[in-house]
């Protein structure tokens, strides 16, 4: 009986979330620079570019956020989180860098070294998180959905490893295309899609004071997404992909409706980011059934879906970091610890939002016109946007370190 009670005491150290978030912003900058290089030289290395963002930016953020969220949102505690996070973060960072370098021109040694490290990282932490969730006695729609997300992420990682082994010719070379497609489908919909939806079920209602999502829908959505992603994998005709699109579009509309009915009516850049994310999700899933894997319209779908994920991640980061700065300082007994807007001002969050919209618009023009100059400018825009994110997050972390050390000094005196 003691385990769930004691679990409430754990607040994972601030350094865990901050190291994952700062690293992910760095990968965002690196990815944008790679984008500029490719636009300038005309050498298009799609997989290297995509994985800098999916693994380096999105994956890094989500794993870091789960360390923080699992104990609070689900009551699932990871023991010795700092040691585990240090290992996961180090292997994921090094692994992503090597993997991206390997994907640049499919160098066998780099690819294998990269996938080995990424595999060590993710196949250690994802199943562990899943195990902790499976041991819970009761579930909310959020913790229940997270199980499906973690299951998908684990399977998606295994498929990614197999895809790399097949592309370098170690095994199942003839199945490379299927492995790649299955990996992508599980990661995009099973992992990221389900995770964002599950988090939204709790976060949207509680933080913005909105009506709850319909209970049956929230319970059914995660397994349904996983099931439909599988269907789309084995039956390639467009009408088999419609159901998956439909459920995600319904989710987006329900979220928009909840946000519209929110009781907290103050203008909030983070609400605007959620709005934008949902509009991009609707656009991307409208395109999805008609975008065959590997075609240009598929790239369009991927960019829109990426915009959705990027928007939601920004909304989460700008909320999580300032809150944790206050929380950890307050836990240290610092009186009048700086609150949300003192850590990152709403003005900066608004600027991030406008910069983000400008980048998405530029990317759309670059994609549609295939104009070299616009592509280069888009790359610069994104570099600026990720750099701005990095500065704001570092500013928050720096505020924490400065005040925490000052209070330690005062205590010692």
């Amino acid at each position: 009986m003691s385990a769930p009670g004691i679990s409430l005491l754990y607040a994972p150290p601030f350094s865990i979330v901050s190291r994952f978030f700062l690293t992910s912003a760095v990968f965002g900058v690196v990815g944008s620079l790679i984008g500029i290089y490719q636009a300038v030289t005309g050498e298009f290395r799609f997989q290297a570019l995509v994985h800098t963002f999916t693994l380096g930016f999105a994956g890094m953020t989500m794993v870091g956020a789960l360390f923080q969220m699992l104990p609070v949102v689900a009551g699932a505690v990871i023991e010795n989180p700092l040691r585990k996070a240090t290992f996961v973060h180090a292997t994921l960072t090094a692994g992503t860098a090597l993997l991206v370098a390997g994907l640049w021109d499919f160098k066998k040694t780099l690819l294998i070294a990269g996938i080995l490290l990424v595999g060590m990282s993710l196949l250690f932490i994802l199943p562990l998180m899943l195990y902790k969730l499976l041991r819970l006695k009761s579930y909310t729609n959020t913790s229940s959905g997270m199980r499906y997300a973690l299951l998908s992420a684990t399977a998606g990682t295994v498929l990614g490893i197999l895809a790399v082994l097949s592309v370098v010719g170690i095994l199942w070379s003839e199945h490379y295309n299927f492995l790649r497609e299955a990996h992508m489908s599980l990661m995009l919909f099973g992992w990221v899609g389900i995770l964002i939806a599950s988090v939204a079920f709790q976060v949207i209602e509680m933080f913005f004071v909105t009506p709850p999502y319909p209970e049956k829908f929230a319970r059914a959505l995660p397994p349904l997404i996983l099931l439909l992603a599988f269907v789309g994998l084995f039956f390639e005709e467009w009408f088999f992909k419609i159901p998956l699109s439909a459920v995600l579009i319904v989710f987006a509309f329900l979220t928009l409706d909840r946000l519209r009915k929110r009781r907290r009516k103050i203008p909030d850049p983070l609400v605007s980011l959620w709005y934008l994310g949902m509009v991009l999700l609707i656009m991307s899933m409208t395109l999805y059934p008609f975008a065959d894997f590997g075609t240009r319209s598929f790239t369009g779908f991927l960019l829109l879906y990426g915009g959705f994920v990027h928007s939601v991640i920004l909304a989460m980061m700008y909320r999580i970091i300032p809150f944790l700065v206050w929380l950890h300082l307050s836990n240290r007994g610092v009186p009048n610890a700086p609150t949300m807007h003192e850590v990152i001002s709403p003005k900066k969050a608004w600027w991030q939002f406008y910069l983000h919209i400008a980048c998405i618009s530029a990317l759309a023009v670059a994609f549609l016109t295939e104009n070299k100059m616009v592509s280069i400018l888009t790359g610069f825009g994104y570099s600026l946007s990720f750099l701005f994110l990095l500065l704001n997050l570092s500013g928050g972390v720096f505020t924490y370190v400065r005040i925490a050390y000052r209070s330690d000094d005062a205590l010692q005196r």
Binding site: P4, G5, V72, F207, V209, R263, F323, W326
Partner: protein, 144 residues
């Protein structure tokens, strides 16, 4: 009635009181804001009182968990009270930016606190305590 249901409903009501007060502050209607904020403060503190004076002692006595979840919840109540005091000061100073900043921190603190209570502490309480009797005792302190 389940303890979980009774207290969860109070959480939702307090959220709505806060949302109303915050709206008035952002519109600069300080008179209305003061009235709404006082309502939020009174109801939130009453909710804390119900837990601290009725639920937590019974829970501790029945489960023997004195240094467990209830201690953490008390600590978070203290943090929330500190922020509510700071909000009141910002309201007196008619400092909109400060009010909204403190309010945002308070809102997240309260929501993550509520998640823990609703998912862990209340279900455990319902497992160990008599729901109807507990709800009756808490209701005697007033209505949120």
């Amino acid at each position: 009635m389940l303890i979980a249901q009774y207290l969860t409903e109070e959480h939702r009501k307090c959220d709505q009181f806060y949302a109303e007060a915050e709206k008035a502050v952002s519109e600069g209607d300080w008179k209305k804001a003061k009235k709404l904020f006082e309502e939020f403060k009174e109801k939130t503190l009453l909710h804390f009182q119900k837990e601290e004076e009725v639920l937590f002692p019974e829970f501790e006595a029945r489960t023997g968990m004195v240094m467990g979840p209830t201690q953490v919840m008390r600590h978070e109540h203290a943090q929330a009270r500190e922020l509510i005091d700071r909000l009141e000061k910002a309201l007196e100073d008619k400092n909109k930016e400060e009010f909204l900043s403190i309010g945002e921190s308070l809102m997240i603190l309260i929501q993550q606190h509520n998640m823990k209570e609703e998912q862990i502490l209340y279900p455990m309480s319902d497992q160990h305590l008599e729901g109807d009797a507990m709800v009756e005792k808490m209701a005697q302190l007033g209505e949120v």
